[in-house]
Amino acid sequence: MPEKYHIETKAVPPRRPRIGKFGVLDWREDCARCHNCVKKACVWDRYRQEAEYVRTLNAVDTLFFECMGCFSCVQNCTKGLLRLSVNPAWEKLGNSYWKPAIIQTTWAQAETAKIPVSGAGYRGPFTGPGFDSMWTDMSEIVRPTRDGIHGREYISTAVDIGRKPAYLNFQGESFRTDVPCLSIQMPLILNVQSAQHTLPKLGPATRETARRTDLIAMARPSELPFLTEDPQKILPYVAFCLSPEEPVVPPDAMRQTRLVETYDGPDVVSRIQRLKDKYPHIVVSIRVPLDATGIHRAVDLACREEIEVVHVLADANGNQIGVDKPLFLTDMIRKIHTTLIEKGVRDEVTLIAGGGIALAEHMAKAIICGADLVSIDLPLMIGLECHLCDRCEPGRSCPAKLEDVPFDYAAGRMTNLIGAWHDQLIEVMGAMGMREARRLRGDVGRAIFFEDLEEETFGKLFGKRK
C-alpha cells in the first residue's frame, strides 16, 4: 500500500485585521453607568479584545469586527443601548458569485487548514444556480459509506494526467505504455493567475505550495529564470503555459517538468507533435476557453489520438464566455464528458476543468459531473486575504497588500487552504462511499440534481414547473 498522502500544515495568522460579519453599535451617551456591564460577560471576551486592539492600533484603517452575533449583550444591556449590525466592509467582500461568505471561509481555511465546522443546521437557500443545484449522495445499510477522515480506511484522492492506453501493451516480460502519464495526489492543479492578478511574489509561493502538496502549479515562461528557487526542486511541480507571447522555455527546464500546457489553434496538433518529438516524457495539455464553440472544440480535440489532456476554462464565475445565455461549468463538463463517452474515448483523455471553482465542494461536484480534475486560481489569491475588490491596478492600494506578500506566509496559507480542501474532499468521498477520486469522475449516481429531483417528486404531484 502506498504511503498515505498527507499535507503538513501549520496555522498562519492573517496579516490584516479580520473582517467579520457582525459589529456591535454602542450608543454610549445614554449609558446608565450601572457597573453591571454585559460587555464583561461576553462569552467570547470580544469587548476586552476590542479594547486591546484599539490601544495597539497604529492607524485607524479598520474597526474591530469579530463579534460572533449571539445577541447576548444586546439583550442584556441594562439600558438597551447595544445594537447588532452587519459590517459594511464584510458586505463589500467579493462579488455576486464570490460571495462574502465564500471569501470569509477561504480566509479561515487558509489560516487554520481546518475543515469549517459549525453548529446548527444549514442556513442557506433551498437551492441555487450552478453548483448549488446539486447535492452529493450517500447511503447507509444498502451501500455503506466509508470512514475515511477519522477512521481506518484510506481514501485515495490521486488522479492521473495524460492519455491512458486503450489496451495493455506487453513487450517482453514487462508492461509498458508508449505515452507518458503522471499522477498527482489531489484532483487539483494550481492555475496561473489572470494578467490582472499576476504579481511577482505570488509565483514562487504558488510553486512552493505545489511542491509541498505534491501538486502541479502552472507558470508563465516569462517567469524564468526562477531566481529565488532551486530549479531541481521546483521544476517537477511546474507546468509551463506556452503561448506565442511568451518566451521559449529553455530545454533544461523543459526536461525537468512533467506537464506543459499549450494554447489552442489550427496548428495545435503539429505543435504538440514537435514538443513530443523533443520531450517525449512530457504530458501536453491544451487550454480551451469555454466560449460559444468551446464545448465542441474540447470534444473534437479530445477525440484526436494526439491529444492527451484538455483543460477547459469557463470565466471566473463558472459561466460560458461571451454568450448571452451562458451555460454553467457543471453543464458544460457534463456535455463534454457524455459526448466523449458516446464516442468511446472518455477513458483515454484527461479533462481538467476550471473557472468558478470556489469551494472544496465545487471540486467534488465538478468531478462528479465528469472532470478528472479541476484547476483553481482565485481561491489561492483569496487565501492571501484578497478581497476581490477588483482594484488591482498600478497606483491603487491593495487592501491585502499582495504586492509585498512574504514567501512563507503565502506558501503557508495556500498550503493550508489545499489541506483543508483535501480533508473536505475526503469527507464527501467518505459519505459517498468512494475510495478513489479516479472512480468519482462522472459518477452522477453519487449526485442528486435539483431539476431531476423536482421532476421526479413534485413534478408528479403538481404538474409542470413554471
Binding site: V43, W44, G69, C70, F71, S72, V74, Q75, N76, C77, R83, S85, V86, T105, I115, P116, V117, S118, G119, A120, G121, Y122, R123, G124, P125, F126, T127, W135, T136, D137, M138, S139, E140, I141, V142, R143, P144, T145, R146, H150, G151, A360, E361, A364, Q424, E427, V428, G430, A431, I448, E456, T457, F458, K460, L461, F462, G463, K464, R465, K466
Partner: protein
C-alpha cells in the same frame, strides 16, 4: 400516560430483575399553559417604539394600548422602557388604540427594528424566530395583527414553496375539540406494546455534550406533559432523566457512547442511528472543548479530546446485518419498539423497505437540512436530499410494496413550524421529529456557535456549568410546553379547516397541497 403503560403490569415478566429494581418512580408533569417570558432583559422586537423627551408622562398611551407596551410601575412617575416586542407596529395605525396618533405631545414613534435584517437566515427568518419565541412565551400562535410570517421561511424551496389548498369555508360538522392529533407508533401488529403519542411529533436526539442537562431535562419534562418522547442522542443516559424513562428514546449510534444494557432496558423505544441529516455519512462529532469532566464520565471517554462516532456501523453492511442489530436490541429489551434513523440518499426508499424487513417499528428519515450541534459546513449543504422529497418517495415506495401501514414513518430535518409538520404528514409521513424549533423556543438565535469553545452563548447547547446556569428547568419546560400547545392549536386549525377529525386522515393527502412554482394541474 402513553398507552404502553397498560403493559407495565407485565414488566416483571419481561424485564430483568435488576432493571426493575433500579426503576425509579415516574414523574408526572402537568400540561398547563402559563406565560414564560423571555429570560433576557431586552427582547428583540420587530418594531421599536421610541419615546422622546417631549413625553409629559400623561399616561394616555398606557391607557389605550391593549398589548401592554407602555408600563409605568407602581407609583413611579416615569415610564419604563417600552416593551417593544409586544407592539404590533404599523398594523395598529388603523385602530383606535394607536398610541403614536393619540399622544398629545407627539412624543412616540414606531420604526422597524434594523436588527431584523441580521437575526435569522433563509431557513429561519427573523419572523419565524420571533414568532416561535412568542409561542413559547404565551402558548398560542401569535395573532395575525402581530405581522409575523410564522408559517414559512424564506429558503425559496421545499416547505417554503408548498401551501395548503384550504376550502373557502371550513367544515361546520367538526368541532375543534373532537379533533384527534395522536398517532400510533407500533403498526407491525407484533407482541410489542401499542404506543400512542398525543401529538404527531417527538423530540430529536440531542446528547448530553451537545446540549446542557438543563436543556435535556426541559425537553424530557415537556414531552412527559404532552405524552410524547424525547431522545437521549448518543451521549449516554443521564441519571436525572430516569424519572422520565417512560418518555425517553435512547439512541444507539456507532460510537456507542454511554450505551449499556441497563440503559436500553429502561426505555419504551430504542433508536438505531445510522446517519444524521446534517452530516450524512460522517458520524458524530463533539469538539474537545465541550468534552467536560461530566461529559467524559458519561461517555466513558478521555476528558477534553474531540469525540467522533465513526461511520458507518462496521458491523452493518447489509439489511441482514441490520436485522441482527435490531434483534439484539429486541432481545435485550423485550418491550421496546425499535426505530431506525437514516438520512436521505437517493435510495432512501429501498433503505425504508429494508428496514421494515429487518423488523423496525419506526423509520425515521432525517433530511439533509437537519440540525446539528457540530457538522462540517460542506456536509450540511451538500450531502443527501432535503426531507420534502424523501417523505414522498418513501411513502409511495412503501405503499407500492404493500407495507405502508405496517411501518411508522417519521420525518425530520428542517421541520420548523406546525405548517411544516402538517405538510410533512400530507406528503406521507405519520409524524415528525423536531429539534431546532425547541432550541429556538429556549432562546436560540441561530448564531451557529453551538460547537465553539465553551459552547452556546445562550446557555442551551453547552456543557459549561456557568453558561448552562443561564436557564432553569422550570422555565425551559414551560417554554416547550407552550410551544407544543401553540403548534397543536395550529395543527388542529388546519385539520378543522379541511373537515378532518384526525391527523391520520391527513397522511399522504398531497391533493391538498400546491406548489408555488408549479402549474398545479398534475395528476395526483
Amino acid at each position: 400516560m402513553a398507552s404502553f403503560s397498560a403493559k407495565e403490569s407485565n414488566l416483571a415478566a419481561i424485564l430483568p430483575a435488576k432493571t426493575l429494581e433500579t426503576r425509579v418512580p415516574q414523574v408526572q408533569v402537568e400540561r398547563k399553559i402559563a406565560t414564560a417570558p423571555s429570560r433576557y432583559r431586552n427582547e428583540i422586537s420587530k418594531y421599536i417604539l421610541r419615546r422622546s423627551h417631549d413625553c409629559i408622562h400623561c399616561g394616555k398611551c398606557a391607557e389605550i394600548c391593549p398589548y401592554g407596551v407602555h408600563v409605568r410601575k407602581g407609583s413611579y412617575k416615569l415610564f419604563c422602557e417600552p416593551k417593544s416586542h409586544l407592539c404590533i407596529g404599523p398594523a395598529c395605525e388603523k385602530t383606535s388604540h394607536y398610541c403614536v396618533a393619540a399622544c398629545p405631545q407627539k412624543a412616540l414613534q414606531i420604526v422597524e427594528n434594523p436588527m431584523m435584517e441580521i437575526l435569522g437566515d433563509y431557513r429561519w427568518t427573523a419572523d419565524l424566530i420571533l414568532a416561535t419565541w412568542r409561542m413559547a412565551e404565551t402558548g398560542h400562535v401569535p395573532p395575525a395583527e402581530c405581522g409575523f410570517e410564522h408559517r414559512v421561511g424564506n429558503s425559496g424551496g421545499g416547505f417554503d414553496k408548498l401551501r395548503f389548498k384550504f376550502p373557502e369555508k371550513p367544515s361546520s360538522t367538526v368541532s375543534k375539540d373532537e379533533i384527534d392529533t395522536s398517532i400510533e407508533l407500533n403498526r407491525r401488529g407484533d407482541d410489542r406494546p401499542q404506543i400512542r403519542i398525543d401529538v404527531p411529533w417527538y423530540g430529536g436526539g440531542m446528547s448530553f455534550g451537545s446540549v446542557s442537562n438543563v436543556t435535556q431535562l426541559s425537553k424530557a419534562r415537556a414531552c412527559t406533559a404532552w405524552n410524547t418522547f424525547t431522545c437521549t442522542g448518543e451521549g449516554g443516559y443521564m441519571e436525572r432523566m430516569r424519572p422520565y424513562d417512560d418518555h425517553v428514546i435512547t439512541q444507539v449510534a456507532t460510537g456507542l457512547f454511554g450505551v449499556r444494557e441497563e440503559t436500553i432496558q429502561r426505555v419504551p423505544i430504542v433508536e438505531f442511528k445510522y446517519a444524521q441529516g446534517a452530516k450524512p455519512g460522517l458520524g458524530g462529532h463533539l469538539l474537545g472543548d465541550k468534552n467536560t469532566p461530566a461529559v467524559a464520565k458519561m461517555r466513558e471517554a478521555v476528558l477534553g479530546i474531540s469525540l467522533f462516532s465513526p461511520f458507518p456501523f462496521h458491523s452493518v453492511y447489509s439489511i441482514e446485518d441490520h436485522m441482527k442489530h435490531l434483534d439484539w436490541i429486541k432481545h435485550i429489551n423485550r418491550r421496546a419498539l425499535v426505530s431506525t434513523k437514516v438520512s436521505t440518499p437517493n435510495d432512501v426508499d429501498m433503505v425504508a423497505v429494508g428496514s421494515y424487513a429487518a423488523g423496525s417499528h419506526i423509520l425515521h428519515i432525517d433530511g439533509g437540512y437537519g440540525g446539528t450541534g457540530a457538522a462540517p459546513d460542506i456536509a450540511k449543504k451538500n450531502i443527501a436530499m432535503p426531507i420534502e422529497y424523501a417523505i414522498s418517495r418513501v411513502h409511495k415506495f412503501l405503499q407500492a410494496e404493500g407495507v405502508r401501514d405496517k411501518l411508522t414513518l417519521i420525518a425530520s430535518g428542517g421541520i420548523r413550524t406546525a405548517h411544516d409538520i402538517a405538510k410533512s404528514i400530507a406528503l406521507g409521513a405519520d409524524g415528525v421529529v423536531i429539534g431546532t424549533s425547541e432550541m429556538v423556543a429556549l432562546g436560540c438565535v441561530r448564531c451557529n456557535r453551538c460547537e465553539s469553545g465553551r459552547g452556546c452563548p445562550r446557555g442551551i447547547a453547552t456543557t459549561d456549568a456557568e453558561l448552562a446556569a443561564k436557564m432553569n428547568i422550570e422555565w425551559g419546560t414551560q417554554r416547550l410546553i407552550n410551544l407544543y400547545n401553540a403548534w397543536r392549536e395550529e395543527l388542529v386549525d388546519i385539520l378543522w379547516r379541511f373537515g378532518m377529525r384526525s391527523v391520520a386522515e391527513l397522511r399522504g393527502r398531497t391533493d391538498l397541497l400546491m406548489h408555488l412554482d408549479y402549474t398545479n394541474d398534475g395528476e395526483q
